[in-house]
Structures are given as structure tokens and as C-alpha cells.
């Protein structure tokens, strides 16, 4: 389950060593924007050693690699971290399906070289350009490695030549488009970070809005936002209780041979049952339901 993903700079030992206790469902070791060009080598060696030595428990490890346009760093990144079997690799500035195919082909090579099962490394492409957003569905369906999609609003708004605001009206289309593409492709979809780390109310509003659009979870650049994101993307006890009631009502209807049933005056149909099943699955994943 990926409610919250926390970015950690790949060359910062202090943050990397604490990554497992910051409350996020996943941590993203960043080898890209958070690392200066002359420290790329040091960061990828540090991340590889940390992944090898430290126990992150149930926290999912994701590594954000450098863009394929940046000096070949991305291949060195993959060479270092793939053998440590991260949960997912995050390619950046993904523009089209060909970009993913290029990365996937190189991961094939690295997996073979390390006697790993080819295809075992999963991807969460970062879409942060206008062309990437326009190609979202083709990207989401471009490779079996893709497990989730991720939108990055900072680079995207620069590319769109608009101001990045807290309200986020300027990225409404992009958010809706990537959610639709990801859901159509059957993969998860993660929202962009809320970058004002001191705004505790703003993160809740932004996370609720992202959830309302269909996002599975949200990234963060600060540990301070993780709890708020987890809370927003977790089902409430009322939602869990209602989900169980729905499933119980359906079972009773089947036992009584009824084709249709209502609960609290509302017709229970297939989409409501599917939603109830998703709520219960989420609740079980985070340990608030049996």
C-alpha cells in the first residue's frame, strides 16, 4: 500500500539512516534533483550501501534515478541499485513509451547480469512535462514493469509556463489525466508533493483534493507531512463499518435469492460492492480491519 511516499536526498546519510522510522509507506531515495552533479557517484554508492545494510522493515524502497538525458548517470544508478532489489525504480521526466522501453531494456541487462528474474524490477514513471502528461496512457501501458504512475508538478508547471500555486488549479487537467490513464491501465497513481512544509492545514486540503480525484497516495518532501497524508488516504472507521455492512447485505441477498438489495435506502450495485471491497482491503493493509 502506498498512501505516503517520502523523498530523501540520496547523499544525506542522516536522513537515509532514519528512513524506516519516519512513518511513510514508501521512501524514495533521490539520486536526481536532490544531488549535485559532482556528488552523483557518492550518492548512488551511499544508497547502495544503505540498502544493503539497513533494515527498513515493511517500508517500500523506491529509487529515483537520473533522466536518460543526463550524462548517462541513469545507467550507473541502475547498475548500483537494481541488485539490491528495490520495490520500484522511478524514471524521471518520462516523455513517452519509448523512454520506458529504453530503460526497461537496460534493466533487463542488469537483471540478467545479476542472475535476477528478468522483469522483476518494477517502475513508477514520473511524469513532469506537458508531453509526458499528454502521453500518460501510452506510458502507463508501455511495459509490464509499471506498477504505478507519479505526477511531478514543479517541473510540469515550469514546462506549462504557469505559476505553481497552493490551490493547484493550474495542474487540474494534468492530475485528472494521469489518474484516468493510470486507472485505465490498472496501475496505482501517486500525487505530487505539497511543497510548503510549514503549512499543516494546506497539506490536508491538498491531500483530500488529490484523494477526491482518484489518487492512491501522495508524495512528500518532508517527514512532517507524512502523518497527514496517511490519515487522508486511510479509510475511516465509518467507511470500514459501512463496507462490511455492504458485503453482509450482499451475502444476505444471495442467500435469500434476491437479485437486488438496498442498504439505508440506497441501492447496492456492483460499483458499491467493488468500492466496499477496496476499502476493506485498504483497512486490512494498514491493520485497522481483520
Amino acid at each position: 500500500m502506498l498512501r505516503s511516499l517520502l523523498f530523501l536526498p540520496g547523499n544525506n546519510p542522516n536522513l537515509i539512516m532514519n528512513g524506516g522510522i519516519l512513518g511513510a509507506d514508501g521512501i524514495i531515495f533521490d539520486l536526481e534533483d536532490a544531488v549535485a552533479p559532482d556528488e552523483k557517484d557518492g550518492a548512488r554508492i551511499l544508497v547502495r550501501n544503505a540498502m544493503k545494510a539497513l533494515d527498513y522493515g515493511s517500508v517500500n524502497i523506491i529509487v529515483r534515478i537520473n533522466s536518460i538525458d543526463d550524462n548517462g548517470y541513469w545507467k550507473a544508478d541502475l547498475d548500483e541499485v537494481i541488485p539490491l532489489k528495490p520495490y520500484m525504480i522511478m524514471p524521471t521526466k518520462v516523455s513517452d513509451a519509448g523512454y520506458i522501453k529504453q530503460i526497461s531494456a537496460y534493466i533487463d541487462e542488469v537483471e540478467k547480469r545479476n542472475n535476477m528474474k528478468v522483469g522483476s524490477t518494477k517502475l513508477i514513471p514520473l511524469l513532469e512535462t506537458a508531453i509526458g502528461i499528454e502521453n500518460a496512457y501510452n506510458i502507463a501501458t508501455s511495459d509490464a514493469r509499471i506498477e504505478a504512475m507519479f505526477i511531478g508538478a514543479e517541473d510540469l508547471t515550469a514546462d506549462l509556463q504557469c505559476e505553481r500555486t497552493k490551490a493547484g488549479n493550474e495542474i487540474f487537467y494534468a492530475r485528472a489525466r494521469i489518474v484516468s490513464a493510470a486507472r485505465a491501465a490498472g496501475v496505482e497513481v501517486i500525487d505530487t508533493p505539497f511543497t510548503d512544509v510549514n503549512d499543516d492545514e494546506g497539506i490536508v486540503i491538498d491531500a483530500k483534493y488529490a484523494k477526491s480525484l482518484g489518487f492512491s497516495g501522495k508524495a512528500s518532501i518532508s517527514p512532517r507531512h507524512v502523518n497527514a497524508i496517511n490519515t487522508v488516504f486511510s479509510p475511516t472507521q465509518d467507511e470500514v463499518d459501512y463496507a462490511y455492512e455492504v458485503l453482509e447485505a450482499i451475502e444476505q441477498a444471495k442467500a435469500q435469492g434476491k437479485g437486488a438489495i438496498s442498504l439505508y435506502g440506497k441501492m447496492i450495485d456492483a460499483p458499491i460492492v467493488m468500492r466496499a471491497e477496496r476499502v476493506i482491503a485498504s483497512a486490512k493493509a494498514i491493520g485497522i480491519a481483520k
Partner: protein, 87 residues
């Protein structure tokens, strides 16, 4: 591996270690650490293990440790060694 040039890795920030390597005859390790009394022998052992893994016998290596974990020490020593290869 032969150390042919001076190079650096790491920082002086908390939980990190700054490493400097340079050519030398024989292996010389100079360690400064905030936890020298408690972990000096362990840190020296880790440094020697990394140097052994790269077959480096002739090196002067200085470490300024700020409470780095073993994995960080391994990473910074390796980075410093590999960086001088490209010089």
C-alpha cells in the same frame, strides 16, 4: 588498485564522514572521530575491509568521522577510492 591521486568523499555533517585519500608507501590510516574511544577499532576494521576489497595496499587515508554508520563509512571510503581512478 594503485592510488595515483588525491581525492575526497563525504561531508563534515552529522552522521557522515569526510574521507581523503592520497598516494603513499604502505597503508596509513588517520582517524578522527567523535566516537574514537568507543568505536575507533571498529571503524579502522571497516576501513581496512574496504581497502582489502579493492586490493589497495599503498594509501594514506584520513577520516573525519561525525558519527557515521558502518554503511556510510564503507560508502565514503569506496567513493574516495573510485574517484581518484578518474583523475
Amino acid at each position: 588498485m594503485e592510488i595515483k591521486a588525491k581525492s575526497f568523499a563525504g561531508t563534515l555533517e552529522s552522521s557522515d564522514v569526510f574521507v581523503e585519500v592520497s598516494p603513499n608507501s604502505g597503508r596509513k590510516i588517520n582517524l578522527e572521530s567523535v566516537v574514537l574511544a568507543q568505536f575507533g577499532d571498529d571503524i579502522t576494521r571497516v576501513v581496512n575491509e574496504v581497502l582489502d576489497s579493492f586490493k589497495v595496499d599503498n594509501i594514506a587515508i584520513t577520516l573525519k568521522d561525525r558519527g557515521a554508520l558502518e554503511c556510510t563509512i564503507r560508502a565514503r571510503v569506496e567513493t574516495a577510492i573510485r574517484r581518484q581512478e578518474g583523475k
